[in-house]
Symmetry: C2
């Protein structure tokens, strides 16, 4: 069995890097804190005798050799970057649990048939550069590397500059290599498992998404002298589009998701009618057909609002992600492991995007979810119990071992 205490201690050690006063973590991708997290992770891996390689987008792969040199590796992993006000477990659980699997394999003196590789994907969160699942997306060939290198954060720093500045623009090409399977353990980030008292979510797939960048252009004007008829207020227009996103979400019932999470006002002065507003929009739904309908309807209706306000809208679709079913064989290994361990489990569709979604396009993939308190995530109060982490890690261990030795 894996060592639950050692797993928890390493989780808490990683959570020191970028710890926030409210008990969360701010370890934004490709910042110096991310570098510190990567170095600690690399040190732990090398102490186990694993060989660490870094690819051109900063994805880290720590390899443990198997007995049979002809076998393809079994992959496991997740991400170490966090949201600006994120929690200790979103991403880190999957990476540190993978580390604990490696440590247990060593302790137990197990040599697997196939090699096993532990992955830390770059920029899963997408909050800094606007593309979630960036590292796995570049690896999977969905985002051309040159395009990804050119993405910039709000300060104007490009992905390539950020990679270079933390020393993680690696030598290995960022592209899919043959692999036998990929397993990712993650917290659910939603309320279902906790509500139903399940220890394990057997993730059968992930929902569809579409993301946008929006820019509304009005005209800076004096708030005291500019009469209603002369105003072109970019923020009033943006406000109506925010309301539209919420209404479009609610029209889809409890399966709908529609969010404006990021917004910047220019010039952002109290007595100036705003001349420009930049904001993000995203929609999600388990059914891709619904996302395609939303993606047809939203630009049209937002355009009507902008026209009524006299403030032109520029809308750029950043990416559109179909729903992704996982590999039945890999999902079944998760189901069997949970059953063997006597852990209450249920099938579940992921509401969040995960690196597993892109990996699944070229490698048979499955995910394991564990519950989190009140379903809260992307929140500093994100919280899980040590026993929950241990159970998830044990399922990961058994699924990986079964696959590597099949």
């Amino acid at each position: 069995r894996i060592d639950g205490k050692r797993l928890w201690d390493s989780l808490m050690s990683m959570a020191e890097i970028g710890a926030t006063p409210k008990g969360g973590v701010k370890r934004l991708t490709l910042t110096d804190l991310d570098r510190q997290g990567r170095e600690r992770f690399r040190g732990w891996c090398e102490a186990l005798g694993l060989t660490v390689r870094v690819d051109a987008i900063g994805n880290m792969f720590a390899r443990r050799e198997g007995r049979d040199p002809t076998r393809l590796p079994v992959l496991m992993g997740s991400h170490l970057d966090s949201q600006p006000s994120g929690g200790k477990f979103d991403g880190a659980l999957g990476v540190i649990a993978g580390l604990e699997v490696m440590r247990s394999l060593n302790d137990l003196g197990i040599t697997t048939e196939a090699p096993v590789e532990l992955v830390n994907w770059t920029d899963e969160e997408g909050s800094r550069f606007g593309h979630s699942l960036m590292g796995s997306g570049a690896w999977a060939g969905i985002y051309p590397l040159e395009k990804v290198y050119g993405l910039r954060d709000v300060e104007g720093v490009s992905v390539e500059e950020a990679l270079t500045s933390i020393g993680y623009k690696g030598e290995v090409p960022a592209k899919p290599f043959p692999a036998d399977a990929y397993f990712e353990l993650h917290i659910e980030q939603g309320p279902i498992l906790e509500k139903e008292g399940k220890a394990i979510g057997i993730v059968t797939g992930a929902q569809a998404q579409v993301w946008y960048d929006a820019v509304v252009t009005g005209q800076d004007a004096h708030a005291g002298t500019t009469p209603p008829s002369a105003r072109r207020d970019a923020l009033v227009c943006a406000a109506r589009i925010i309301d539209l996103v919420d209404r479009m979400m609610r029209a889809r019932g409890e399966d709908g998701r529609g969010t404006v999470g990021q917004l910047h006002v220019l010039p952002n002065s109290r007595n100036v009618v705003p001349g420009e507003v930049r904001f993000s929009v995203e929609f999600r739904h388990p059914d891709f057909a619904e996302i395609e309908r939303l993606a047809a309807q939203f630009p049209r209706e937002a355009g009507f609002i902008a026209r009524d306000c006299g403030t032109p809208l520029k809308l750029e679709e950043l990416f559109r992600l179909p729903a992704q079913p996982f590999d039945p064989g890999c999902v079944d290994l998760v189901r069997q492991a949970a059953a063997r361990l006597g852990l209450p489990a249920r099938e579940i569709v992921s509401g969040a995007g995960h690196d597993a979604v892109y990996v699944a396009r070229s490698v048979p993939t499955a995910m394991i979810f564990t519950p989190c308190k009140d379903g809260l995530s992307h929140n500093e109060a994100e919280s899980i119990e040590p026993g929950e982490a241990e159970a998830g890690c044990q399922v990961l261990f058994e699924a990986v071992l079964a696959r590597a030795n099949r």
Copy 2:
């Protein structure tokens, strides 16, 4: 007569400090650029033999002695701070024109009966610390000095710290001293004079205002996993309040003003339901009774929206300013000067707040407006013609001279 070319050259020289690529000015109050503007202004004053004193809120007074030591000073002035994306003339015109009046008095060898003082008021714009007319308000005793010192910008820097760091927390107490009159030249910042082909606005008073700070509290949550029923989205609530402000303004017709100019989202990440939004709200109207109705209605209706959204709203009224009529005698001096010079003029009520509004509470006051292109202000494209500046300055000269020698 005053020297129009010298006036324009000094305006352009001041506009170099904080010049923006788009031809505007960013010289935020109590920043190092503000200090540079103040130093250039002080140098010009001292070269004329004027004595410069600085009060406890950083207001600068440059004094030219008169013949009669028993006479109270005639004041003129405006402000050198700007909006974050402001123009070259908002404020600077009134200060630099006052300087040109001083230069012309020297050139013409005129000794006035009463002393004349030129004022640069601190933080007229209010965009950094949330209180427009801050320096004149502290001087007039409307804002207690201790309270003003404690106001903080979004970075947490207090007014007192900012004053000290640029070396402009002066020795002289910030309180009204006896003065005979105050004249302020300013661009109209609206479209009326230009539309009617008038060179001079005889400002009879300024409209009423009320300003607020608003904080909506929701809950950070994952945009992909959090169903509509579980969301407490602070930005959706703020968006509906922004729309309310716009509707309340339009319900008052062309005299109504209602603006949300500044807004910050937390944590401001694309895939996080916003947990907190902070924003400014202001209303203006020529009739104070209408402002009092707005100030009763707005907190109530905004509160209903917040309750419906499940996101509590904290609303703080920053200040409420009654409409301020100017002194008929001083206004008449402006009217007579324009008539004597054969300049087309009309009476006008100021849509913007001005330091003159607070000064008028203890000193007989009037203002002079000049047109500005397309009525644009609080915009980098703010623009006036040299001849318009010259005409306004000549009226200022004649009004001040008439008052000082009466």
